[in-house]
Symmetry: C2
């Protein structure tokens, strides 16, 4: 892609963007001149979510009080149904919105391990997101299982030959991220599922970095289990409740370890013995966080209105544009693309390697009003969320980035990374 036409090219791309109007559906300080490229970490606030939260808090809770539980009781499944239909390729009754990704992964992984009691190995890759690796390690330690960490390239992602060689008839469970959190590398869900199923094992997908950014067809590829977060491309707010998916014909055979009252049969009989609810509902635990769940549903409806196909098309076009700008401007400054070059092989974020990535990240935020994020050890991650990011944001962001590096502004910042979420 030739980017020599300058900012006008970005303006033209915005003028032709079929989902451009959705930016107005978000709270954006246009006068602040901020370029936000961290929607892959925390999505912007949709105006409809702010309104829905007001309604839940002031009307349903403030005025409806306990009576609102008649509606709230179905909130985890209602939000799950919307997410499933529009963004996950899942049928009703296959998705719940509840708990965090970490807790949901623990529940699903424990249930999956229990469903393959004669098998002793859990497989994941060494570049999977920390909470996935840690939860699986804890489960393996607790149950006397082996956690097998296979190597994934931190730029190119997991090679499926490596996966195929690692799963065997002792493998209970494989857990992988559809989109790698650092590189953005995108796995072929159908092919991975086939490899895992051929070995008689079960697969759990972590969809945190893919949901809302790439089309997902869980049912169509006949996969098993999935979890994902809702505060990145789903824009449901910091720490909003996560989701979990269990293939419908599979749910009744699974037992998860956290036997809470919301996951029991005939909850309000409060009987002496726990019996799991039929189907997916057994994956509920405690009282669900109603406001957060309603936010997830509203956010999912907004993405559905834009259409995941249109969002993915823009995500591909915008990251292609970003990569072309990076090639033209940043490669000469010592940057290297640390994501797959083929857009079909990556999600909606692009990662750049630079030895001074941490200091550059700080300078960008504090001096150039550009917000990317940093990932260890030396990565700058740029996530232009298709639903509200403009091509001019990408142009401005990369233009400011090159100036920060050319002018060596970053040298004023400490080389010692501190915490970054």
């Amino acid at each position: 892609m030739d980017v020599s036409a300058g900012r006008e090219q970005a303006e033209a791309l915005d003028a032709a963007d079929p989902v451009a109007a959705f930016r107005d559906r978000f709270v954006v300080d246009d006068d602040s001149d901020l370029v936000y490229l961290d929607g892959n970490s925390l999505g912007r606030l949709p105006k409809a979510v702010a309104g829905r939260l007001d309604q839940v808090v002031r009307d349903e809770w403030g005025h409806g009080l306990i009576r609102s539980w008649d509606d709230w009781i179905d909130a985890p499944a209602q939000a799950g149904e919307v997410l499933g239909r529009h963004l996950l390729g899942a049928r009703p009754d296959e998705v719940l919105v509840c708990d965090s990704v970490t807790v949901n992964l623990y529940k699903l992984a424990a249930a999956a391990a229990r469903a393959r009691p004669e098998r002793r190995v859990i497989v994941t890759d060494d570049d999977n997101f920390p909470t996935d690796r840690y939860v699986l390690a804890g489960l393996a330690e607790e149950r006397g299982l082996e956690l097998r960490l296979i190597h994934a390239d931190i730029d190119a992602g997991l090679d499926l030959g490596t996966l195929a060689a690692a799963v065997d008839d002792d493998t209970a469970l494989v857990c992988l991220s559809q989109v790698a959190y650092r590189s953005g590398a995108l796995l072929d869900m159908a092919e991975v599922t086939r490899i895992v199923h051929d070995a008689g094992a079960l697969v759990i997908w972590d969809l945190c970095h893919s949901v809302g950014a790439v089309p997902i067809e869980l049912d169509a590829v006949d996969t098993d289990l999935a979890v994902g977060c809702t505060y990145k491309y789903l824009n449901a707010g910091p720490g909003a409740p996560a989701f979990c998916y269990v293939r419908r014909d599979f749910a009744d055979s699974l037992r998860q370890p956290i036997w809470g009252w919301f996951g029991g049969h005939e909850q309000f009989e409060m009987g002496p013995t726990y019996r799991p609810a039929d189907g997916m509902a057994r994956f509920l635990t405690g009282t669900p966080p109603i406001a957060g769940i309603r936010a997830v549903q509203t956010s999912a409806e907004l993405l559905a209105e834009a259409g995941i196909g249109a969002l993915r098309a823009k995500g591909v076009a915008m990251t292609e544009y970003l990569v072309a700008l990076a090639d033209a401007w940043l490669e000469p400054l010592g940057f290297r693309l640390a994501s797959p070059r083929d857009p079909a092989q990556r999600g909606s974020h692009v990662t750049l390697h630079h030895p001074e990535a941490w200091r550059i990240c700080q300078a960008l935020i504090q001096r150039a009003k550009v917000i990317p994020d940093y990932r260890t050890p030396d990565r700058l991650r740029l996530g232009p969320a298709p639903i509200y990011t403009r091509y001019v944001d990408v142009w401005d962001g990369l233009d400011r980035l090159r100036r920060v590096v050319e002018d060596r502004v970053y040298e004023e910042y400490s080389a010692e990374p501190t915490r970054v979420t």
Copy 2:
């Protein structure tokens, strides 16, 4: 207590109530004529919580975006510190606000069982709240332990002689509710802790029905572990995040089973191996729900401003008044007190037994604008939360209740209980 003076007596009690002004700090539809006696199930909305949620959503998320994580990262511990200091008698670093009661109980119970590996028995009572019994049953099944259910009277609560006889040198863990969810019976925390510790076991308190209603001094009685919810007397909203407490000198020796990235040492190094954070922070799991946690902190600050001593004094006086009205008006109509008669032996709710409790509850809500709640099998539960309930609400509520029964209005309603939260 002589209640023959009628409603004027209630008005006089309100006029002399030192915390009466706090009612104005809540969203209350005064014109709706509603008598809300279900604060023990879902507390009313504090105006300050509505404002704080607006601030978190619109300012911190909407405008601050990812930068707000610099403050949010400490939210679970900050809210825990406020809760601990004002309402739990706990030092800083002993309380976290995170997850649900169910998930927190699972984490703490699993950690406690692991800390007593040579012991095989978990003890709770057969009238404990369902999620407690179920979580412990699940844990026992998973770990090959025995769950020993000791009998508690559903009106009078657990007899400590029964407890003492049931714990022995094979007991790993005892889990009890400080205030029983049905009867409101209040346990002596110091005495229970002594009995359990004498047997060399650990104790986990469920504080759901006591926190915010009775003074709690966890450190002073040298107890071990506790969990509790925040949507009852704490007024933090439906499904707001729960809290957990671990005695400070004890935290570093415990390992909980859900190894999430927020509970690890040096979280943002995202290193290859999970190592639990120092102290209480190891009980965090996934990304914490920020808005809900901020709501908990704001709610706790409001209760602290009123003072738990003043709230408890009003709780005692108001339930005494309620019992006196019930004795005078309801006992002749077939009701029987199903809570301890001594106010020192109960929390802030009072339960009445009546064979038609379910139908009476429905008639009260739908025809008399009084909201109590129903509990199986034949209990009407009345929870006049001290911070916003007036004595006239108690008078009006019980006056309407006697009329509903005298006039047999309840006979229009189905005898078949459906779900009640």
